[in-house]
């Protein structure tokens, strides 16, 4: 059966999983890590770096390293989130041709889905390397608060990466799926997700029929583990300044090392009470003398440094429960998601707030990807009982007089669905109405996302409130939203089909797919060549090592000398193929090298 991969496309880290022999499993990358930094960089030489390697040069090549692209995906150029990102990002964000935003790396501008596609492609390669065959189908997770455009942009990113995204699911839902895997759960669950760059709290209702309802979700897209790292860096910089009167922030290399060391120390302090940060030759003093940084960081100091950040997450939890009119004791289980939740102080704070310890049943770094993989397996295997129904992530409705938002389809409604409501005119002799289709939960229209608009004309001139207009929202099984407005008196009708857009046209997406494919082919060819090169070099070295012995053994025979000359020729030609990067020729020469090596070994064995 075809494998479906589950991808947790995170703001700071991504993770890929599959279901193997009925068990969901996370696939480690080549470095052995189960998560891969969601970072993309382009080096001075134009080389593309993705993952850990991009992270390691994030500060020294800050202008050309993209991180947290997820904060921008599917957002319009004019949105406050984009403005915020422009102010805080080290890379350049520019306006795209469709009021979207683009990221400038070196001399090229990339759309946000394109950048996300590079990360997804990396996750795909990790899975393919592990499975040993090509992978097409994927389930990708997104935050519960993502609107249709953001979800569509994520889907587009998957398509650019060469994936068939069979479902987009909410991250807390995926975490809950992983938690509920293999057991019959019917609970109200709080998912506290503190990742590298974002914090989300979601309350879900898990029903026995497989419906996972997100009752409430909130968070802070600029709060996460990186803020804790930054506090440690501040502490280290200040300590060094006090000792040497040198500001390490002025040196990018020093700052890169500080950031790496801070993250490492933070992780270590989740399991030990004290750790040493040792950075030899961190900077050179004015007298060209190299200085070292060596400092011990205790867990209680880290807790002190980050206490206000932890407090902020608790405040958001409190607000979310209040908004959802839920009491703490109505929560049956608390799931901790995200690497930061390994910090004992955070576990304590969550336990203190909810009045109970969090569940140990899910792995904080892996559960979202695992949940996505579980969902993926269920979607292609009809024998599996678990069915996750598609629900609307946000309420849908229209703007009414006074800039209010009138909800027609509530959040978390199972699709397909259809709802109708009657509206009237708001002014005397009004002959036309503008239907502004929106998505969101705010009562104020301006706080919600506009999906589309149309005008219904030809209404009868009458005092306000007399003409009745029926508005119908319909979402089909494919998630396509249609809105229809009908003058009940005349039967006149206007409609619109709302299609979520990532900000990219079909042509653009097609070009990006081609470009990504090309890159992938180049990468695969290069990898194949590297493998062959290593094999050829190893064989050539072994043959060369055997030359003296073989020469000695066959010295007396003309035939032997001829064979040696031939062997030298084979080695030379193989090396020429390596230098010319000629994969096809190298493949052929490897056969020759193998034969020669076997023959030489045989000669040496017989001669002894």
């Amino acid at each position: 059966m075809e494998k479906v991969i589950g991808i947790d496309l995170g703001t700071t880290n991504s993770c890929v999983a599959i279901v193997e022999n009925g068990q969901p499993t996370v696939i480690p990358n080549r470095g052995g890590y189960k998560t891969t930094p969601s970072m993309v960089a382009v080096t001075e030489a134009g080389k593309r770096l993705v993952g850990h390697i991009a992270k390691r040069q994030a500060i020294t090549n800050a202008e050309n390293t993209v991180y947290a692209a997820k904060r921008l995906i599917g957002r319009k150029w004019s949105s406050p989130q984009v403005k915020n990102a422009i102010a805080t990002s080290s890379y350049r964000i520019v306006e795209g041709p469709h009021h979207d935003c683009r990221i400038a790396l070196r001399d090229k501008e990339f759309s946000v889905p394109e950048v996300s596609a590079m990360i997804l492609q990396e996750m795909r390669v990790i899975a393919e390397d592990y499975l040993g065959h090509s992978v097409q189908k994927a389930v990708i997770t997104v935050p519960a608060y993502f609107n249709d455009n953001q979800r569509q942009a994520t889907k587009d990113a998957g398509e650019i990466a060469g994936l068939d995204v069979i479902r987009i699911i909410n991250e807390p839902t995926a975490a809950a799926l992983a938690y509920g895997f293999g057991r019959n759960v019917e609970k109200t669950v709080a998912v506290y997700d503190l990742g590298g760059g974002t914090f989300d709290i979601s309350i879900l209702e898990i029903a026995q029929n497989g419906v996972f309802k997100v009752i409430a979700t909130a968070g802070d897209t600029f709060l996460g583990g990186e803020d804790v790292d930054a506090r440690i860096v501040d502490w280290l910089v200040q300590g060094f300044k006090d000792e040497h009167q040198i500001d390490l922030r002025q040196d990018r290399m020093a700052l890169q090392r500080l950031k790496d060391a801070a993250e490492k120390a933070k992780c270590e302090l989740s399991s030990v009470r004290e750790t040493e940060i040792n950075l030899p030759f961190i900077i050179s003093s004015g007298r060209n003398e190299a200085l070292h940084l060596q400092r011990a960081l205790a867990r209680n100091v880290l807790e002190e440094l980050s206490s206000d950040l932890i407090e902020r997450t608790v405040d958001i939890c409190k607000q979310t429960l209040d908004d959802a009119r839920l009491e703490k004791d109505e929560i049956d289980e608390i799931l901790l998601v995200g690497g930061m939740t390994r910090m004992p102080k955070i576990q304590d704070a969550v336990a203190k707030f909810f009045g109970r310890d969090a569940s140990k049943g899910v792995h904080p770094d892996e559960c979202v990807a695992l949940g996505a993989a579980i969902q993926g397996a269920a979607l292609i295997d009809e024998s599996q009982e678990m069915i996750l129904l598609d629900v609307t992530p946000h309420a849908l409705g229209i703007m009414t007089f006074g800039s209010y938002f009138e909800e027609l389809i509530p959040q978390n409604t199972t699709v397909p669905t259809s709802r109708t409501k009657i509206f009237t005119t708001s002014r005397d002799n009004q002959t036309a109405v503008k239907i502004l289709v929106m998505q969101g939960e705010s009562e104020k229209a301006e706080d919600n996302e506009v999906l589309g608009e149309f005008i219904l004309t030809g209404l009868r001139r009458a005092p306000k409130g007399q003409v009745e207009i029926e508005v119908t929202f319909e979402i089909n099984a494919d998630g396509i939203v249609s809105v229809r407005a009908k003058d009940l008196e005349t039967g006149l009708e206007q409609s619109i089909q709302v299609t979520a857009t990532s900000g990219l046209t079909r042509d653009e997406i097609k070009n990006m797919i081609d470009s990504a494919k090309e890159h992938m082919v180049e990468r695969r060819v290069s990898e194949e060549f590297e493998g062959l090169k290593q094999e050829a070099q190893k064989l050539a070295a072994e043959i060369e090592k055997l030359f003296p012995q073989v020469e000695q053994i066959v010295a007396a025979s003309d035939f032997g000398r001829e064979a040696i000359d031939k062997a030298r020729g084979i080695v030379t030609r193989a090396r020429a193929a390596i230098d010319k990067k000629d994969t096809a020729a190298l493949k052929e020469h490897i056969e020759g090298l193998s034969r020669t090596q076997r023959m030489f070994k045989g000669v040496v064995a017989k001669g002894q």
Partner: protein
């Protein structure tokens, strides 16, 4: 034993030689009196043709490598095992040694044709002459330093820019040849607690921090955030000082 002259004749077209991957550093011939590093090499008409329009056209790096390959072959022909060919020069020799040896062993850069007067301010005419001389003598590191100093004063100085690029490319090629295949993964050969007693600067410290036993040399170059030449030079020096090694 293969004759030097014989190799010189066949060298430019000899793909097999050019493509030898064993890019071990050249071994000075103990029987031969080393020539002064500054002595220009005039006797190499076929090796590298410089366009008369530009005396700073980059010497063909493959020519540099070919020469190294040739010397490796000589070593092998003499019966020395490939491993014995790796040179372990004095730490202090570093870059100048590379340049000097390349010049001494490999006459890749013929004396440049007469150069038209530099179109720049009179103040930097002398450095320009020095830069040309150093380049023509194969002292690429010296020429690079002078070119950079000229560019500091006059960033758009065309000749200095061209010389800088050429020097960097040749030196990068030389260091790469010295270090060996860039897909190898280095490890730190000095115990952590002894690291601070080494004589390194913060840039070397930064490069060293990327040596983790997982990253290849190529990846370290990618993440170093330094010009490739600087990173290669540091890696080469770390290797020379046995701070890093390969398993």
């Amino acid at each position: 034993m293969v004759d030097d002259d014989e190799l010189d004749k066949s060298w430019p077209d000899d793909d097999a030689e050019k493509n030898r991957p064993t890019l071990a550093p050249p071994q000075p011939d103990p029987k031969r009196e080393p020539e002064p590093a500054t002595k220009p090499k005039r006797e190499t008409p076929a090796v590298l043709r410089l366009d008369s329009a530009s005396q700073f056209e980059r010497p063909d790096p493959s020519a540099v490598i070919s020469r190294r390959g040739r010397e490796s072959l000589l070593g092998l022909a003499d019966g020395a095992p490939a491993d014995d060919l790796s040179l372990d020069p004095e730490p202090s020799e570093a870059l100048d040694l590379v340049a000097a040896e390349a010049e001494r062993a490999t006459p890749v850069v013929p004396l440049p044709p007469p150069v038209p007067p530099a179109q720049s301010s009179g103040r930097i005419v002398e450095p320009v002459t020095e830069m040309r001389e150093r380049f023509s003598l194969g002292d690429y590191s010296g020429a690079l330093v002078v070119a950079e100093s000229i560019l500091e004063e006059e960033p758009s100085h065309a000749e200095a820019l061209q010389c800088e690029t050429s020097c960097r490319q040749v030196l990068e090629q030389m260091y790469t040849a010295r270090i060996g295949p860039l897909d190898r993964v280095p490890f730190v050969a000095v115990p952590q607690e002894q690291l601070r007693w080494l004589n390194l600067d913060h840039r070397a410290g930064f490069v060293l921090s990327h040596v983790d036993g997982n990253c290849s040399l190529e990846q370290i170059l990618d993440v170093s955030g330094m010009p490739p030449l600087d990173a290669l030079r540091i890696l080469f020096e770390l290797l020379q000082q046995r701070v890093i090694g390969f398993r």
